[in-house]
Structure formats: structure tokens, C-alpha cells
């Protein structure tokens, strides 16, 4: 009898627990955030635990490798999939996302919640949030600031015998290059040297052809020699701008750097190959995104005292660098837009932005990046802040994909495959781009 009473009590208790628990489980909320699979994404997972703690909303993450990141998510957005509630989308997507209404327009939400774009670095607002560019129409919140920078082997640069040899050859100290001419000199100096028992190369630069690699690399030279995307006074007019003498010279300099000083075999290489080349002691200098620099600074083999950082060197037409990074947007097909907006509001808070950077992300908040504490926080921080003030970005038009692939083909054919001249490559690029813009209904004349 006692057993029967105990059994009945247990049954009643479990029925009660089930009755109480079921409604709350049914109400359990979750949001899916989509991004690329890389180091900063892991930091974001850590950060989002705070959001779940504060709101009870579970955060799920869908991170896709860079190689399929654009294809995968653009297809999802285009098919109005609700798989992602929030997306950290590439800066180039913003035009297509705004015009095709893939993202929720955030102006009213920002006004209502007193989120000001003035608190973020101007370049990141233009790059990650605005469409049309330079108009106050916001489709995202700057989330991950990034730009192209350079790392160098500080320990090699400090070797007395190399310093002496360099000085006798070039009549100046062996220091991180400040101009592209110096970059060429230093790269040539190191190429073929035997250091730590290994033949090394001067510098690693992007050459990848399939997605965006070589464009993200070559623009760092071309901007500084006079390349621009269009006439600032005449939108979409490219003749004489894209294929200017300066732009062609910048392309030639990049090719020269590739021919003289790139490790053999790296003819179709992007971020990871650069990291490998630098970590394995194959190159003296490496072009790469700042997002990788926290990891490199801590690398047991090449980090710590062995690594130094410098911003993209200047050219005769100025000093610019390629913008990377992404903005946080709310997907208009999401079934939980209110919760997704709640996340954006949470993410925009200064304290969260600070923690995001502390964990290994890269806030675009002025308060974080311009603070003295940040500049002293890591060896790459000062040059990163300076770099973010000199960025330029690729087209962000709805048809940015064909624009990008056209540039990939023309530039790669010239730099790597030695096809034609730099002028011919850029003339052909102008023709390609005119065709795309005409397709888009814009007047490139």
C-alpha cells in the first residue's frame, strides 16, 4: 500500500512538473545569427551568452566557411528563408540587401532607441550600414571593423647583420616600409635570404582568383597610386578613373611585388595561405586582414616579440587601405524580428561593444577604438585605428558579384598569368563594368 501511495505521489508530482514546465518550454525563444566561420565568430558565441543570460533568448549560430559564405547566405536571403534572424553580412551585400528588401531598414528603430550612427567610425557606417552610400538610410549596425594591414618579422628586422647589409645597400635603416617603393625594396632584400636555416621570401600578397582575394589585395596598391571606382562628380563614370595611368602603375607595382617576392606556388592564395606562410617562417612580411592579428600576436612560434604590425604603405596618390568587415542586420524574412531588433539594441550598448573587442572581436565603436586603453591593449591596435581612418571599399551595388568577378579575372590574368599590359587589363575591366551597370539600368557614360 505504501508503495502504491509513493508511486501515485511520484506520478502526481511528475504530472505537476510537466504541466508547469510545458508552457515555459513552449515559450522558449531563440534567435539564429549567421556569419562566417572564423576566429571572431567564436568570440561572438562567448559574447552572446550574456545576451541569453539577460533576456532568456537562446542564441543559435550558423557559421559558414568564407569560401561559401557569400553564395550560401545570398541564396538564403534571396529565397526569403527565415533560417537566419540576424546576419553579419559582408559590406558588399548592402546594396542588394537594401534594394531587394532582404534586410529590415533600421532608421526608425535607431531613432526610437537612441542609437546614433555618430558613435561609430564614419567609414564603417558608410561601409556596413548605408545604402545608398553617404545617405542616412541604415540597413545594418557596424559590427566587425576590419581592414587590410601588414605583419612583419620583427626579430628578422632586428638582426644586426641584416640591418647592416640593408643600410649599406639602400643607405637607410631596415624598418617597416612606409611607402610601396620601400615595401618593394624590403621585400626584394629579404627574398632569397637564408634565415633560421631556411630560404625565405620578402612578402606574401593575395592572389586568389575564385572569390575576392586578389581584388582585396591589389586595391591596396592601386588606391595609393590613383585608382578609384568612379568619377566623384559623375556617378558611375569610370573611363579614365578606373583605367587611369596611376591605377595602371599601382597594378604594375603589385605585379612586380608578386614576381619578385611571393613564395612559389602561391598563385591562388588568400587569407589562410598567408597565415600559413607567415607562421611557417617563409615570409618576412604578410598582407592580411586585421581580424587575424589578435591570433597571430599570440602565436607561439611567430607571435609575441617576433611579430610587428604596420598599416598599408602610402603611394604617390595618398595612403588608403582596403576595408573589410561586416555589419549586423535583421533579416526581413525572420519570424522573430522583434527579438532580433532587441539583440541589435543590446549589441549596440557601449559596454557590450567593449566586451566584444576584449573577447577578440573588433568593435567599430568610436568610444572603444579611440580610447587610449584600446591603443595600448595590443601591438596591432594603433595601426588598426589609423587604418580604419584611411579605408576605401569595393562596389556595394546589387550586382556587386559580377563586378567583383570581372575585376578578379582581369587583375589575376595580368598579375599572375602575365596576360597583356596593366592598361589593357584595366581598359577591359572598364568595358566589363560598363556592361554590368547597363544591365542594372545605370548610366555609366
Amino acid at each position: 500500500m505504501k508503495k502504491m501511495i509513493a508511486g501515485a505521489t511520484a506520478l502526481a508530482a511528475s504530472a505537476f512538473v510537466a504541466a508547469v514546465a510545458t508552457p515555459s518550454m513552449a515559450e522558449a525563444k531563440s534567435l539564429t545569427l549567421c556569419w562566417a566561420a572564423w576566429d571572431p565568430a567564436n568570440a561572438l558565441v562567448e559574447l552572446n551568452k550574456d545576451f541569453t543570460k539577460e533576456t532568456g533568448i537562446e542564441m543559435k549560430h550558423e557559421f559558414v566557411p568564407w569560401t561559401s559564405y557569400a553564395d550560401h547566405f545570398i541564396n538564403l536571403l534571396n529565397s526569403h528563408s527565415s533560417e537566419c534572424d540576424l546576419i553579419i553580412g559582408d559590406s558588399q551585400w548592402i546594396g542588394g540587401a537594401a534594394e531587394n528588401k532582404w534586410y529590415v531598414k533600421l532608421n526608425d528603430f535607431f531613432d526610437k532607441n537612441h542609437i546614433s550612427m555618430d558613435t561609430f567610425l564614419p567609414a564603417t557606417v558608410v561601409g556596413y550600414a548605408e545604402w545608398p552610400k553617404n545617405t542616412p538610410n541604415y540597413w545594418g549596425l557596424p559590427a566587425m571593423a576590419d581592414a587590410v594591414g601588414w605583419t612583419y618579422r620583427k626579430d628578422w628586422f632586428a638582426k644586426p647583420e641584416l640591418r647592416a647589409e640593408f643600410k649599406s645597400k639602400y643607405n637607410r635603416e631596415l624598418e617597416p616600409p612606409k611607402t610601396w617603393d620601400e615595401l618593394l625594396e624590403v621585400s626584394k632584400f629579404f627574398t632569397g635570404k637564408e634565415i633560421d636555416g631556411k630560404k625565405v621570401y620578402g612578402s606574401y600578397i593575395y592572389t586568389e582568383r575564385g572569390s575576392e582575394g586578389i581584388t582585396m589585395g591589389v586595391t591596396n596598391a592601386m588606391y595609393n597610386y590613383g585608382f578609384d571606382y568612379m568619377d566623384p562628380k559623375k556617378p558611375y563614370h569610370m573611363e579614365g578613373i578606373v583605367n587611369s595611368a596611376g591605377a595602371a602603375k599601382g597594378l604594375d607595382v603589385y605585379k612586380e611585388l608578386f614576381n619578385c617576392c611571393q613564395p612559389k606556388g602561391l598563385t591562388n592564395a588568400y587569407m589562410s595561405e598567408g597565415l600559413d606562410a607567415f607562421k611557417s617562417g617563409e615570409v618576412a612580411m604578410q598582407m592580411n586582414w586585421y581580424a587575424f592579428f589578435p591570433g597571430l600576436a599570440k602565436d607561439p612560434n611567430v607571435g609575441g616579440d617576433k611579430i610587428g604590425f604596420f598599416k598599408n604603405p602610402a603611394g604617390p596618390a595618398g595612403q588608403f587601405t582596403q576595408l573589410g568587415g561586416q555589419g549586423l542586420s535583421v533579416v526581413s524574412a525572420s519570424k522573430d524580428i522583434d527579438d532580433a531588433l532587441l539583440y541589435v539594441k543590446w549589441f549596440a550598448q557601449p559596454a557590450v561593444q567593449q566586451k566584444w573587442t576584449d573577447l577578440g572581436g573588433a568593435s567599430a565603436s568610436k568610444a572603444v577604438l579611440e580610447s587610449d586603453a584600446y591603443k595600448k591593449s595590443a601591438p596591432y591596435a594603433p595601426s588598426f585605428v589609423e587604418s580604419m581612418g584611411m579605408v576605401k571599399d569595393f562596389w556595394a551595388e546589387p550586382l556587386y558579384v559580377p563586378l567583383l568577378l570581372d575585376m578578379q579575372n582581369r587583375v589575376h590574368d595580368y598579375v599572375v598569368a602575365n596576360k597583356g599590359t596593366s592598361k589593357q587589363a584595366l581598359d577591359a575591366l572598364v568595358k566589363d563594368w560598363i556592361k554590368v551597370f547597363k544591365q542594372e539600368g545605370k548610366d555609366p557614360s
Binding site: N78, N100, G265, T267, P402, H412, A417
Partner: protein
């Protein structure tokens, strides 16, 4: 005892079905059997083909939510007047012709060797056949590794014989070497297939013909030119047809090895098609290119089959 009546009862055809079966003509029954295959064929072959032809006259982009807009023959004009596309056709022709020549020469040579019994015959036959049993994706990936200038064994192998530094050259990164590298890997992979077809041809030649030739004191060389080659020729031509189609549509292995690079040095038309369709998302243009490729391959194969039939008849 109890099963027999039940069995005989079960085998009786119900009157209704018997009437139905009687009502169906042979033709109708044939259609019932063929229909599922026809439906599948229409759904996965014919309909996409017709749809692709339709899209080829539009500026449709599959990644943008835009309606179909007809542009007439603009896509065809763009393709046929684009120097780059012609370059890629030229690259494809170089790849197809070079691989076929090498595969036929090496495949026939290997078949002649394997046709004779020797010690370890079965073992060596298996070893020779191994490459064609691998997936092109696997072949692409491991040759990429073998060709690595810093760590790849291929460069060390070459440097052993030539004295060149292993990291001083790159097979898949060099404009001069890359086109021959993809030919080499494709030949390595598919020569065994040509060898098998040639071997079938060699085994089909009756021994008495050679015996008669020996009675006539024909030299080995004469026997090869007058007996072996003419009798293997239909098999060889079949191998050439199969391998021409296979090389013409080659995508996976080359894509993994070089992605069409360096530059567009190894960009076969199949890679151009993929890039237009799934990287640029220029669906209309890609459909037009696919139609052109289809017509080219279909036309060439038809002409070839007619020639093959004439060779067989002669």
C-alpha cells in the same frame, strides 16, 4: 493435402482483372512499362534542356528576385564575340586533343604489353587500373598536394633528376607548365580506361591470323601495322569518342587542381560555364553557353559516330 485446393484457388484470375488484361493491347502494356522512364527522362533531362534554351534568351539572374526579361540572341552574340570565351575553347581543345593523343598512345602500348602473359601479370594489371577507379575529386586533391613546391614529392622527384631546386618551380602555378600539368594528370587517370578498351580489341583478334602471318614470314612490325592496328581501330575510335566526351566535359579534377588558373591559363569551357552560372549568377548567359556546348558536343559526336560506322564497315 490442404494446400493444393487453396493454391489452385489463388491462381485463378478474378473475372474483372481477366477482362482488363484482355482489354489491354500489347502497345498499351508497352507504354505502361515505358511510361515511368519516359516521365523521369522528361522531368530530369528534356524539361531542363528546354528550360535552359528558354533562359538563354533572357537576362535572368538566379540570385536576384527579378522577372524574366527577354533579350533575344544577345547572350549568344556576347559569347560568340567574346575573345575570352574563344580562348577558353582553345584551352579546351588543347586539353582534349593532347589528352586523347597521349591516352591512345600510352593506352595502346600498355594494352600490347598486358596482352602478353608475364610474371606478375595480374598484379601489374591491377596497379595500372587503379587510377581510373579513384574519384576525380580525390585525384585533384592529392595531385595538388604532390605538386606543392615546398612539400610536394613531385618537385623533389624532378629536382633529383634535373638538379633544380624543388621550390624553384611550380607545376600548377606556372603559366607554361599548368596546361601540361592538367593534361598529365588526366592522362594518368584515364589511360587505363583506354588500355582496357584496346585490350578488349586485342583479345578479339583470332590467333590464326597471326599464325598465317608468321607462315608468310611477316615481321612483328608488319603484323602490327597490317593486322593489329586495323583490327583494334574500331575499339580505339570508340575509346577516342568516350574520352573526347569525358575530356570535353572535364570539370571537377581541373577545378580542384588549378581552378582554371593561373589567370585563365587552364580555364576550360566547363569552368567558364560554372563561373557564369554559379559565381556570377548570370543564368541567361550561362544557359546560352550551355546550349552552345551541347550543340558542339552533340554535333561533333554525331559526325564522329558516322565516321566510326564507316570504319567498321570498311
Amino acid at each position: 493435402m490442404t494446400t493444393a485446393p487453396a493454391h489452385s484457388k489463388n491462381t485463378q484470375i478474378p473475372p474483372t482483372l481477366r477482362v482488363g488484361a484482355r482489354g489491354l493491347s500489347d502497345k498499351a502494356i508497352a507504354w505502361i512499362f515505358i511510361a515511368p522512364t519516359m516521365v523521369l527522362l522528361l522531368a530530369i533531362n528534356i524539361f531542363p534542356l528546354i528550360w535552359a534554351v528558354r533562359l538563354s534568351f533572357t537576362s535572368y539572374m538566379a540570385n536576384l528576385p527579378r522577372p524574366l526579361s527577354f533579350v533575344g540572341i544577345d547572350n549568344y552574340v556576347d559569347i560568340l564575340t567574346d575573345e575570352d570565351v574563344w580562348d577558353h575553347f582553345q584551352t579546351t581543345a588543347h586539353f582534349v586533343i593532347s589528352t586523347i593523343v597521349l591516352q591512345v598512345l600510352i593506352g595502346l602500348g600498355l594494352a600490347l604489353l598486358i596482352n602478353h602473359k608475364f610474371k606478375g601479370h595480374s598484379f601489374w594489371t591491377t596497379v595500372i587500373l587503379l587510377p581510373m577507379m579513384l574519384s576525380p575529386a580525390v585525384v585533384g586533391n592529392f595531385w595538388t598536394l604532390l605538386f606543392q613546391p615546398q612539400i610536394g614529392p613531385f618537385n623533389y622527384f624532378i629536382s633529383f633528376f634535373t638538379g633544380l631546386a624543388p621550390s624553384s618551380f611550380t607545376m600548377i602555378g606556372s603559366v607554361d607548365l599548368a596546361p601540361w600539368t592538367i593534361v598529365m594528370v588526366n592522362t594518368w587517370m584515364w589511360t587505363p580506361y583506354v588500355m582496357l578498351i584496346c585490350l578488349a580489341g586485342l583479345r578479339s583478334i583470332p590467333d590464326y591470323i597471326y599464325e598465317a602471318a608468321e607462315v608468310d614470314r611477316a615481321s612483328s612490325w608488319r603484323q602490327f601495322w597490317s593486322i593489329t592496328l586495323p583490327m583494334v581501330m574500331p575499339f580505339l575510335m570508340l575509346a577516342v569518342l568516350f574520352q573526347a566526351i569525358q575530356s570535353f566535359e572535364m570539370f571537377d579534377m581541373v577545378s580542384l587542381l588549378t581552378s582554371g588558373g593561373p589567370g585563365s591559363t587552364t580555364e576550360l569551357v566547363s569552368i567558364t560555364l560554372k563561373r557564369s552560372a554559379f559565381e556570377k549568377w548570370d543564368t541567361g548567359y550561362a544557359s546560352a553557353l550551355a546550349v552552345i556546348l551541347f550543340v558542339t558536343a552533340f554535333g561533333a559526336a554525331n559526325i564522329y559516330v558516322k565516321v566510326l560506322n564507316k570504319v567498321k564497315q570498311s
